[in-house]
């Protein structure tokens, strides 16, 4: 999607028809919208989300009220006032225009009623330049940029936390939308439909199958239904645990806010962090122990064998059998040549006695294989024995570390228990009841996690039984040709489904890894923080500290969350580009890999360094960037770092009826002053869009 222009009419603060806001492209791809708070930055962001997705951001108050108040006040009673937004954009070389409208009827001087909102209209330019209507607007927009992903491309920087801390459902939507946008959805659908076809073909087989086939099919059906029940149970348990964790966070927040127990709760937070770190360290030590035992543990048990070996070798040496004086190979070579090294012939006919004497040496000669093996074994045994002291050192150090970790964990848990008891026994009823609730929630979380584990094991068991039954059905030969044909068709559906499933899983894993790599590439370009972003299989994005051996999750600051979100978008756009380029060899892929981002207050929570870093890289985050900034956000480091990147700028000049406005608020852009706030000539507030001249 390449944004071309946006126009609004009587939409929220924007009175009348605004001029076209044209969006910057190519080398200078950043469009900056300058506005003070309340001037319409959020309204402009919502013009996009309403128009394209019929949705609103959280900061957009009274979303049903779209029509400008001044336009309503000036209208005749009984007349209809229209508010609309129109966007032109290009996708895959086709020009589109989407328009959405909301109407209000003026009932009296102070009242108006809202008409039901009309659906959006989407037109596209045909090859002859004629505008043609697109009937399925939602589907068409969904294909260009799925609704579930739109919060990543149209967002409010001050409320960005939600984007990088999604709920379970939001994560599932994000994973699904990512796959949809990257074209993997085709495979998902193929798996579903092949599975449905398999079910229908099995029914046909059941109609004509012999008793054994019927029995196997019935058993499989029963197992499939059991699997379905277990999967929905697992889903419910996961939802429950999410809810419990959310409630736990809520209770902890309330305890943090309570006078008198704040310090205890803070200490508990610190102890919980320490406990996580210690547990991670314990895990790493145990892993080290496991690896040491697996690699060198056997060396301890070969000591007795080594002594036997040395004794044996020593006795061979004493007997003179080692080292070997004369080698069998040497004697055999002489016999083969039928000539001794002294020159005497050794052929059996002419010199039988001499040949017999040499042949007798064959019995005395040693095998060079034995000597070689003895030497090699000696070296091996020496190296094994050398390993033993190092092995015991490693084990002893790891065990001592494990002991220290366990003691620390026990001490931390003891202190946590003390805090819990103190809070439970608090004379303040509010405190004790919050702590009791917290303890109950913790117990429930532990129990639910155990149930999740058990259900997961059951699902795996049932899946294995289904696969076994499927194999029996596939191998079973019926007596009738018709039955065998039906069976082959079922097997083909299963085989095709399973192969696509495997490819789907492989591609998903590759997608996730690539996305994680791209996120980190941008995160480290933009952020000064040394942390590493990890995207797990459920599309949960976390930051980890990898400076110590075991990666430890770190609590993100709001600024880090913001940079992480921008990195996610940049990484995503990168991945979509790459995926699109490899479309031919990937079976699936997006039509186009051109994406814009529209951000309200992108520097919301960033410090000076991060502001500068974000601005320096902002033009690379997406193909087009539209950012809305206040005069305080457009500070020296931002305006300086954005030089050469901004292709278009607009000012949302806010007209206020407020008499207290002493002075105009202006901004200097390219050497010209533009009013950000000025006195309204009437009793209405409204916003005017002014294009900034670029020299």
């Amino acid at each position: 999607m390449k944004l071309v222009s946006l126009q609004m009419c009587n939409f929220r603060q924007f009175y009348g028809e605004t001029p076209l806001i044209r969006f910057a492209t190519d080398n200078q791809n950043v469009t900056v919208i300058h506005a003070e708070n309340g001037a319409g930055k959020t309204a402009l962001l919502n013009a996009f989300t309403w128009l394209l997705y019929d949705s609103h951001t959280k900061g957009f108050g009274s979303p049903e009220e779209k029509v400008n108040k001044r336009a309503l006040a000036e209208a005749d009673i009984g007349s209809t006032v229209e508010a609309w937004v129109k966007l032109s954009f290009e996708h895959n070389g086709t020009l589109y225009e989407i328009r959405r409208q909301s109407d209000a009827i003026k009932v009296s001087d102070t009242e108006w009623s809202l008409k039901p909102e009309r659906s959006a209209q989407l037109l596209y330019a045909g090859e002859d330049g004629q505008w043609l209507p697109e009937e399925k607007v939602t589907e068409a927009i969904g294909r260009i940029l799925p609704k579930d992903l739109h919060t990543y491309f149209f967002f409010d920087g001050e409320r960005i936390e939600r984007i990088v801390m999604p709920t379970k459902k939001e994560k599932a939507d994000l994973a699904a939308a990512t796959k949809k946008l990257l074209g993997v959805e085709v495979l998902d659908r193929a798996i579903t439909h092949l599975n449905d076809a398999r079910g229908a073909l099995e029914k046909e087989l059941k109609r004509i199958g012999d008793p054994e086939t019927l029995l196997l099919l019935d058993q499989k059906e029963a197992k499939e239904s059991e699997q379905e029940d277990l999967e929905s149970e697992l889903d419910q348990l996961q939802t429950n645990v999410d809810g419990l964790i959310e409630s736990k966070t809520e209770v902890e927040n309330r305890l943090r806010a309570l006078e008198g127990v704040q310090d205890l709760q803070k200490r508990r937070d610190q102890l919980n962090d320490d406990l996580d770190a210690r547990k991670a360290s314990l895990g790493q030590t145990q892993e080290k122990l496991k690896q040491a035992i697996a690699k060198d543990g056997f060396a301890v048990f070969v000591e007795d064998v080594a002594d036997d070996f040395r004794e044996l070798i020593e006795s061979l040496r004493k007997k003179g059998e080692l080292p070997v004086g004369i080698k069998k190979r040497f004697v055999q070579d002489i016999l083969d040549q039928a000539s001794c090294i002294c020159g005497r012939p050794l052929d059996a006919e002419d010199a039988p006695a001499a040949r017999a004497a040499v042949e007798a040496w064959m019995q005395k000669a040693g095998s060079d294989d034995v000597e070689k093996a003895a030497n090699e074994m000696g070296i091996l045994i020496d190296s094994m024995q050398e390993k033993v002291p190092t092995f015991w050192d490693t084990i002893s150090n790891a065990q001592s570390k494990e002991g220290t970790d366990r003691t620390e964990i026990s001490e931390i848990e003891g202190e946590l228990d003390d805090i819990k008891k103190k809070l439970e026994g608090s004379p303040r009823e509010e405190v004790s009841s919050l702590q009791s609730r917290l303890s109950k929630l913790e117990e429930d979380i532990t129990q639910t996690n155990k149930d999740i584990g058990a259900t997961d094991v059951n699902i795996k068991g049932v899946s294995a039984e289904i696969a076994e039954l499927q194999e029996k059905i596939a191998k079973h030969k019926g007596l009738e040709d018709q039955q065998n044909l039906a069976n082959r068709r079922v097997n083909a559906a299963v085989d095709a489904r399973d192969r696509i499933k495997q490819v789907y899983e492989n591609l998903n894993e590759r997608l996730r890894k690539k996305l994680e790599e791209s996120i980190n590439k941008y995160f480290h370009q933009i952020s000064v923080s040394p942390y590493v972003a990890k995207l797990d299989s459920a599309y949960s994005l976390e930051l980890f500290d990898e400076s110590i051996n075991v990666p430890i999750p770190v609590a993100r600051s709001q600024g880090e969350s913001q940079v992480l979100c921008l990195s996610f978008i940049a990484g995503f756009v990168d991945l979509a580009r790459e995926w699109s380029a490899q479309r031919g060899e990937n079976l699936a892929g997006p039509d186009s890999a051109e994406y814009p981002i529209v951000m309200d207050s992108p520097f919301g929570a960033l410090d000076t360094t991060n502001r500068r870093h974000v601005t320096e890289h902002i033009n690379r985050v997406a193909d087009q960037v539209v950012m809305m900034v206040s005069s305080t956000q457009w500070r020296g480091e931002v305006s300086g770092a954005s030089a050469g990147k901004v292709g278009k700028s607009y000012v949302l000049s806010y007209h206020t009826p407020n008499d207290d406005l002493d002075d105009k608020v202006s901004v200097d852009l390219n050497g010209q002053m533009y009013d950000l706030v000025r006195k309204s000539p009437n009793e209405f507030e409204y916003t005017e869009v002014i294009e900034v001249e670029h020299g």
């Binding site: 399925k136 589907e139 294909r143 959805e185 085709v186 495979l187 659908r189 193929a190 439909h193 092949l194 449905d196 076809a197 229908a200 073909l201 044909l485 082959r488 068709r489 083909a492 559906a493 085989d495 095709a496 399973d498 192969r499 696509i500 495997q502 490819v503 492989n506 591609l507 590759r510 490899q582 060899e585 990937n586 079976l587 699936a588």
Partner: protein, 49 residues
């Protein structure tokens, strides 16, 4: 060719044909919700006779 596609590349010819035809059909009908299952059954029946 990406390794991820190996399970399809290694499939017997009939299965590979079914997979290719089903995926092409899905691509053409990405927004169609109903009737795809029957089309897939047809593809399988035509291929396995």
């Amino acid at each position: 060719m990406a390794d991820e596609l190996k399970p399809i590349k290694d499939a017997p010819e009939q299965i590979r044909n079914i997979i290719t035809k089903v995926i092409d059909h899905e691509k053409r009908n990405i927004n169609v919700r109903r009737g795809i299952k029957d089309d897939v059954i047809d593809i399988i029946k035509k291929e396995i006779q």
